[in-house]
Symmetry: C2
Subunit: 630 residues, 2 copies
């Protein structure tokens, strides 16, 4: 019931490649050159003919013999009769009797001939045979990945068929009694097979040819049969999952029966329960089941293996260095792959770690890259400069960072910024947003913080926290907060007082909604202990709504749009002000002007108001300016 | 007969986009989510269900009620009977009566139950509904280009069909009486249609759907018919060429007949004779015929137009700054696109301009990027730091630069360096190579320079030119030089003396072969004036061989391999030493060790010797070391 080993990733890769010996993805096929885009040549190619393959005119003009023209000048124009010239378009063949071309612009047409006022030199305006490519030139060597101009040059120089490496065939075998085909609606306890499509699309991006096999239940014989079949038809076999050494995990048993497992367990997190085996000469890999574990194993191990076996250079992830906004602790036993969001604020990259769970695909979907913490490292402190390996190369100059409270209006704003700009948002609550502005870790933040003393929104917080840094408060929306309750309001919850003795789902400390709840409870003199679930915290409106929806809570404080989305009833309690807190630097940039103009358009205002519970009459108004000190 | 205008490229783009008004490539289609890789969403997508969609076990273990476990500790193990527990694999549904999971590793199996030695907390090892994605979460906004994990997340959260923007359909219409279908063997005066495949593959790389129409002759009615047909079926229409305002250029006439030409002539070089018109609401563009002109217009104008009309961000070319090795002069009237090779020597980029001709596809094929010289600039001096826009992002750390004399053995060497390293070579002759080593513009150079005084190869030149810089001379091959003559040697040329009164094709000054010819002529007291064509210079062995082959020269000095390739007779005259001249820095790097080891392998030696005229017995021997001063 324990992993066979916990091999460091580099040791595993080196060892496993040794196990695979001379095995390579090197089957060759012959294809038409016009299907060659991004394919890899399996042969050296020499030009079959020269380009151009005949002496050709470089201009529209007249072919002449230079000899006949040499006395011509402005004072002594020369007439050349029809027999001594030949008109030609660009690209036309130079007839053997001629050795020069005079541009049409330099010629005066006369009856039966032309007049010229300058001599022509031999070979002028002629492209000689082989000017571009000479027959027998070595054009490309094995391994060239063909680009558009390469294909044009191959055609021009007479190559019509090319030998290329076949796309490696990769089998993807989903297994598990709980796994159902991706397009089926899952019941409770059933999981749709989304991993196979993750793998298939990664393989496509690597230039391979994936085949997804039908889902195989947890049964040794059935799995063995599918693995055998896949082995016949493919160059690399991936089995997902059955790799975690649980009681029903047949992957390693099947590999050991047909071949041999060499490694089971790799010292990375997520991704540790991977299996590396060989059947015949071919690698057969067990990929863990959690999507992020699977992704890390694919990106960090299978990709390296794949490109090595393909004999191609590994496409490297681009690296950037940035300042970490939160501490990240790491298990000494593993090399950890923390997904992070990256922003660029005043020429500095800012790196925010996302949640760590191996099951959270949203951390890859929303993340920008990996912060890789080596084995035997305890992690990094907030403020440390760390290296991030990006999932894809991006231009962070065009990405606006928005860390703070989340609101759907921000998502709608993002659609107005596209395609030129995009919005990178992280949800840390209003107070977290203020801190991010103060520390220069965001361009702006959405905030909605009630001052219990004044009943006023946001301004007093800005004055308190940002008196040195400075910041500008720009109004986004009035938003109705209230209680989300089950459809039909069966418990008849109509006010804060009615929460006593009931179960709620609460928002995290520092969230504007939490501050509002505390304010309203305070006014009614209700103590946290009087409400069950007060200490269980969630990070979004929809998350608390979900708790009500699934009857794990009787009520939750939140906005109307969330209640509507989850088909819950809504008890309106308070109209709050949701504003954008903007750093002085970003406020003065042309980029923010674009945001401001959008906030003021009718189209944007209407689109947000249609969500329900919003009033955007004054969106884009500047509410308060805290000047930057020194 | 003149261009209608010479509009600066930015002015043209802005003006033409204004002409196109609201026209966009915004047709939408619904596809299966599993076909969504790299497609662009045309809708905002909200999660249809939560992930997970039920409370699920995060571990293999036992479901329990936390309540039942709270008294357990090491001194007081608790036994839980079969009714109070339920075994579950990772991912299984948590039954309503349970609220906690104990990992299998922390459990002792007993008859009819389990024993535990620690209490469980509520919700431990349980993934609650919506932990990853909550139903109604906004997952993606319009414009998202879907990546593998996005597709997995869409499947997991219940989206099976997605609305995406259709791939823009682009018509490519090749025209011209001289143009023949790409797969036909051309006669003299005929040009195979390679441009259409260049365009089609560029469009594919941009995510579009190209259609190449049959080649249309220079005929107004025929062209009009094809343009009409293409207009019906496509979003963007490209006509190639007939754009240069020559007598048979019908493109602008047809556009003006069916719609209107707005711009004819753009102030770029190459690429100036482009035509920008509109028929109905759709853009119809005339692309120039020369391949590099066409490429520049596609990269610099059509690509910007395409992404703008698609509503997507333009993929920017990566920029680097490097030192120019040669001066580049530019026409004030045009923005010029000079193709360059880039190398990285001691952390500095080195930029070498390639030939300028608009017909030379090899300059794009072999080039790394554009040096763009603005309109009204006279160009750059050698040594100036210039900006280069790369055709594709490359890791120049893994590219060895070899500027000097060319030899096929270097091409073969390149195949041994792949896939880890590649070789970027430029052919400037032996003396050019020595200068490149001296100026630090190359890692190494191939040279074969005879010292007329001593009859010895290379060493005296190194002593003379590199006494301060230092350099190491490494032997590559003994190579037989001689005279290439027509098959059967009809003029009976058997020695240098026999060249008197004959026509030759000569190599450029500074080429080792030229030095050898001069040496042999000197020995025989033959004057340059006694040989026709002595002053006509070519840059490669194959280029001079081509002159002999096409009977424009009677003989040329060169190597056996070139004569063999062109099926010429060969009169051996001299065995020379072709060596590698290596900078001290590169010589001491691990990278060069790899080169050196390759040179010493039997396999490499045999492969080169099979070309004929080579002896590699001593390849990899260090011949001479000139120490670096200070």
């Amino acid at each position: 019931m324990v992993y066979l080993n916990n091999t460091p990733v580099d040791e595993l890769l080196q060892g496993f490649l040794k196990v695979l010996g001379d095995y390579r993805f090197n089957s060759v096929e012959t294809i038409s050159v016009i299907d060659g885009l991004d394919r890899t040549l399996a042969e050296n190619i020499f030009a079959k003919r020269s380009v151009p393959h005949y002496h050709s005119s470089a201009m529209d003009g007249y072919q002449v013999r230079a000899e006949d023209t040499k006395m011509a000048n402005v004072d002594n124009p020369i007439f050349l009769s029809q027999e001594k010239i030949k008109y030609c378009d660009t690209g036309e063949l130079i007839e053997p009797q001629f050795d020069s071309v005079i541009k049409i612009e330099d010629v005066h047409k006369r009856d039966n001939g032309i007049e010229i006022i300058g001599g022509a030199t031999k070979w002028q305006n002629i492209r000689p045979i082989g000017e571009d490519i000479t027959a027998h030139d070595l054009l490309f060597t094995v391994g060239r990945k063909l680009q558009p101009m390469d294909i044009a040059a191959l055609i021009a120089s007479g190559t019509y068929q090319i030998k290329v490496f076949k796309k490696p065939k990769v089998a993807i075998i989903p297994t598990g009694d709980e796994i159902i085909p991706w397009q089926k609606e899952p019941k409770e306890g059933e999981i749709p097979d989304s991993n196979s499509q993750l793998f298939a699309n990664m393989i496509k991006q690597w230039g391979g040819e994936p085949t997804v096999y039908p889902v195989t239940p947890d049964n040794f014989d059935l799995l063995e049969r599918v693995v055998k079949e896949a082995w016949e038809e493919n160059d690399l076999i991936l089995v997902n999952a059955g790799s975690s050494a649980g009681s029903e995990d047949y992957t390693s048993k099947v590999i050991n029966h047909l071949g041999k497992v060499y490694y089971h367990g790799v010292a990375i997190k997520p991704g540790k329960p991977a299996i590396f085996g060989k059947i015949g000469e071919k690698p057969v890999i067990g990929i863990p089941g959690y999507p992020v574990s699977a992704y890390v194993v694919m990106e960090e191990i299978i990709k390296k293996l794949y490109f090595y076996l393909k004999g191609e250079k590994l496409p490297k992830r681009k690296k950037i260095e940035g300042k970490l906004t939160k501490p990240v602790n790491s298990d000494l036993k593993f090399q950890e792959y923390v997904r992070v969001k990256v922003g660029k604020i005043k020429e500095q990259y800012v790196v925010t770690p996302l949640a760590r769970g191996a099951a959270l695909m949203s951390t890859v979907m929303d993340g920008d890259g990996f912060l890789i913490i080596p084995q035997n490292s305890e992690g990094y402190r907030a403020g440390e400069v760390v290296q991030v390996e990006l999932f894809e190369d991006k231009d962070f100059d065009d990405i606006f960072v928005c860390i703070g409270s989340h609101d759907l209006a921000l998502d709608i704003l993002a659609t107005y910024l596209a395609p030129q700009f995009s919005l990178s948002s992280a949800h840390v609550g209003s107070l977290g947003g203020i801190m991010a502005v103060k520390k220069g870790e965001t361009h702006f933040a959405g905030i909605h913080l009630l001052d219990p003393q004044t009943g006023e929104y946001n301004i007093s917080y800005v004055k308190k926290y940002l008196k040195d840094t400075g910041a500008i408060l720009v109004h986004l929306a009035k938003r109705t907060q209230g209680l989300m309750v089950a459809k039909g309001n069966p418990l008849n919850i109509n006010s804060i007082r009615d929460l006593k003795g009931k179960r709620i789902a609460n928002r995290q400390k520092g969230a504007g909604t939490r501050v509002l709840l505390d304010y309203l409870m305070e006014k009614e003199k209700i103590k946290p202990g009087e409400i069950e679930g007060y200490n269980r915290e969630y990070f979004t409106h929809l998350a608390v709504a979900q708790e009500v929806k699934s009857n794990r809570a009787d009520a939750a404080m939140g906005i109307y749009a969330a209640a509507k989305a989850m088909d819950l009833d809504f008890v309106p309690l308070y109209e709050e002000s949701y504003d954008l807190l903007v750093t002085p630097d970003f406020f003065n940039s042309p980029n923010f002007k674009f945001v401001l103009e959008t906030l003021r358009t009718k189209r944007f205002r209407r689109e947000v108001e249609e969500l329900g519970g919003y009033n955007l009459n004054k969106s884009g108004e500047i509410i308060f300016v805290e000047e930057e000190k020194n």
